[in-house]
């Protein structure tokens, strides 16, 4: 059963510089998150992955589209309803060192939860609850309670924040790059914790730029680029048999311990924002050549170029007054998704 449904969600950010142009951060993104499922949202910077998390947590409002939680549109919640919503949907963010107020003890985050959600719970009951939550994240209460944030390691801090979410009857956890700032030795502990929580029925939206982490932990994967889904489906299918050029390029760039980078020629990168198609050359290496910085860099700049074209077109559209609605619709139109195999959707090249 799906707990959370993201339906045709779009988000335009208005930039304050450069003449107030609009940047499409999300373009009609739809997916469903089921109970006990981990979906990883994978994308490079500017792909809109964090924006999805923020919209789900109702920290920003979508320009278009709806997010429904257990069948109810989350934008309709008033103050009280929102409080109940946050009882079930919680987020943990990238930088543990700035999630805490350094002048208070770290366990103040628990007190804040108690004040809002459990004002009438007795001390003994609260302590039992707290112990259960800390136990679930494999923290020893004596190690962490009463400590200041700087006395805790990054991994302990992140686990405390997850424990805070577990105090509530959390159904959905938005985990936005929660391990990218942790050391390798503690990373895995947090990852394994997510797996454990998932097995107990928690649905997790795992936002990351690291493909190998996403692959390790998630059941389904969504690859995002420029705010649109380029490929989505069961993790094994997307990683095992990637269909979109962009996914392949990402996978070929992942540094792996036991495999050196290989230079495989990529397909043509075609830009078609607002109907006007700009084809770029296929970058091909002669057989047997080792990947050179040049070949790879050129390809990157082409990708950056794509991004600029999209932005420029959107800006141009909003400069003219007429036909505003139609223009927005065109700018937001993502490449169409088609089913490659069951539970594996691939977008048209853009």
């Amino acid at each position: 059963m799906s707990v959370l449904k993201v339906d045709q969600v779009s988000k335009l950010y208005r930039s304050t510089s450069r003449g107030g142009g609009l940047t499409p951060a999300l373009r009609k993104v739809s997916f469903e998150l089921r109970e006990g499922e981990v979906i990883s949202l994978i994308g490079e910077s500017g792909s809109g992955k964090t924006t999805i998390g923020k919209i789900v947590l109702r920290l920003v409002a979508p320009t278009n589209g709806t997010v429904t939680f257990n069948g109810k549109d989350i934008s309709t919640y008033s103050a009280r309803g929102l409080r109940d919503y946050y009882r079930h949907v919680q987020g943990v963010f990238q930088d543990p060192f700035s999630s805490y107020n350094p002048i208070y003890r770290a366990d103040r985050v628990f007190e804040l939860v108690r004040d809002v959600y459990f004002p009438h719970v007795s001390d003994t009951e609260w302590d039992a609850k707290l112990e259960a939550a800390l136990d679930a994240v494999t923290l020893n209460p004596g190690d962490v309670l009463g400590k200041y944030p700087h006395q805790l390691s990054g991994g302990q801090q992140q686990r405390l924040l997850i424990a805070r979410a577990l105090l509530l009857e959390v159904k959905v956890l938005v985990a936005d790059e929660i391990i990218s700032m942790l050391d390798a030795s503690t990373r895995v502990d947090v990852l394994n914790l997510l797996v454990k929580l998932k097995r107990s029925g928690l649905a997790i939206l795992f936002v990351t730029h690291d493909l190998s982490l996403g692959n390790y932990v998630s059941d389904r994967t969504i690859i995002l680029r420029h705010g649109a889904i380029v490929e989505m489906g069961a993790t094994q299918k997307v990683f095992g048999n990637p269909q979109h050029d962009y996914t392949r390029m990402l996978l070929s760039s992942v540094p792996e311990l036991h495999k050196k980078w290989q230079h495989t020629p990529l397909g043509p990168v075609v830009v078609s924002a607002n109907g006007s198609a700009v084809a770029t050359d296929v970058i091909e290496a002669a057989p047997g050549t080792v990947a050179s910085a040049l070949a790879h860099a050129t390809m990157l700049d082409e990708l950056t170029h794509t991004e600029q074209v999209i932005k420029r077109d959107v800006r141009a559209m909003f400069a003219g007054r007429g036909g505003r609605q139609a223009a927005v619709a065109v700018a937001l139109e993502p490449p169409a998704l088609s089913e490659f195999e069951p539970d594996h959707l691939v977008a048209e090249p853009e």
Partner: protein
């Protein structure tokens, strides 16, 4: 042997006395070698890198010697180091994305660099710079741009060009790929290789916490733990046959594409590194090590157990002696 570091110790001054962040470290780099220096946060890897180019007010050299191309590098003497920076030793800083002054164009920054080092053949150097800019796939109009007009990956690449413009013998690249997207990471990594192959830099130390990046670009990997070297060997050896328990645990904790939680459960390393102010005696990894035994209360030597493979661990030394 282009670089050799012998028994180098570097400490931070603090109100509670000196905190030794780099403790008695020795290693050497061959010509053309890219050495990867890896470790957890607080292991002293950045301190070691920085000490080779600039000891700031808070740091001091406690002991040891650094030799570059047969001459001693006066790392404790900030003034004597000045003409050597950028020309002999150069650094790509950890936050290279913000290392470029936002109020000066890239071209102006280049001028500043050439002036401060009293470079005579300006035109030649500038022509060479344009060539290198093209080589890495940028257009030479970047010289007329401000740093904020460039994307993160472009900025990182421009910083590397500036750092290596005067063909330094040793380049220290501190976390140059950490803040980048995977595809940009690859471009920057390959750029370092290319610059080495073309002889723009003689050797390099790449500092990072990400072992898999080092597996791509480094010739040798040195693992650092709590201020000391734990293991040094060729990249293949470290990746495939690590000997130090810490290296083994680090490598076992890395998820790779294709490894999934339902088939393989990875394990982390319990505990956390000791704090600088309160270093245990003996082997510093002792408390987290599954193989620790009585002898580990003494400091293990950093020994060559196999040709080119140095390890600092009693268990490994004993097994090698058998």
């Amino acid at each position: 042997m282009s670089v050799s570091v012998e028994n180098l110790s570097v400490a931070y001054r603090s109100r509670r006395g000196d905190l030794t962040a780099v403790d008695n470290v020795s290693f050497s780099l061959a010509d053309g070698e890219i050495m990867g220096l890896a470790g957890e946060s607080g292991s002293g890897k950045s301190t070691l890198g920085n000490s080779l180019i600039y000891l700031d007010q808070r740091m001091k050299q406690v002991g040891g010697k650094v030799t570059l191309d047969g001459r001693e590098l006066p790392i404790a003497d900030t003034k004597a180091m000045r003409p050597l920076r950028m020309t002999q030793v150069s650094l790509v800083p950890q936050y290279a994305m913000s290392a470029l002054t936002p109020t000066r164009k890239i071209g102006t920054l280049t001028d500043d660099l050439l002036k401060s080092h009293k470079v005579r053949n300006r035109d030649e150097v500038l022509a060479e710079m344009r060539r290198r800019i093209e080589l890495i796939g940028l257009k030479d109009d970047v010289l007329r741009k401000y740093s904020f007009e460039l994307s993160g990956g472009m900025r990182q690449r421009v910083t590397i060009i500036l750092s290596t413009l005067l063909n330094p013998s040793l380049l220290i690249a501190d976390e140059v790929t950490s803040a980048l997207d995977v595809s940009t990471q690859r471009a920057v990594g390959e750029m370092l290789l290319e610059f080495r192959d073309r002889g723009y830099i003689k050797s390099a130390i790449t500092i990072t916490h990400d072992l898999s990046i080092l597996a791509q670009i480094a010739d040798s990997i040195t693992i650092m733990y709590a201020g000391r070297l734990a293991e040094k060997a060729s990249t293949d050896t470290i990746v495939n046959e690590p000997l130090h328990p810490y290296t083994q645990a680090l490598i076992a904790s890395l998820p790779e594409v294709g490894v999934r939680h339902d088939t393989t459960t990875l394990t982390g390393i319990p505990g956390r590194p000791p704090s600088l102010a309160n270093m245990p005696t003996g082997c510093r990894f002792r408390d987290r090590c599954p193989f620790a035994f009585a002898k580990c209360t003494q400091t293990p030597p950093f020994e060559e157990v196999k040709p080119g493979h140095y390890v600092s661990c009693w268990k490994v030394s004993q097994e090698a002696a058998k």
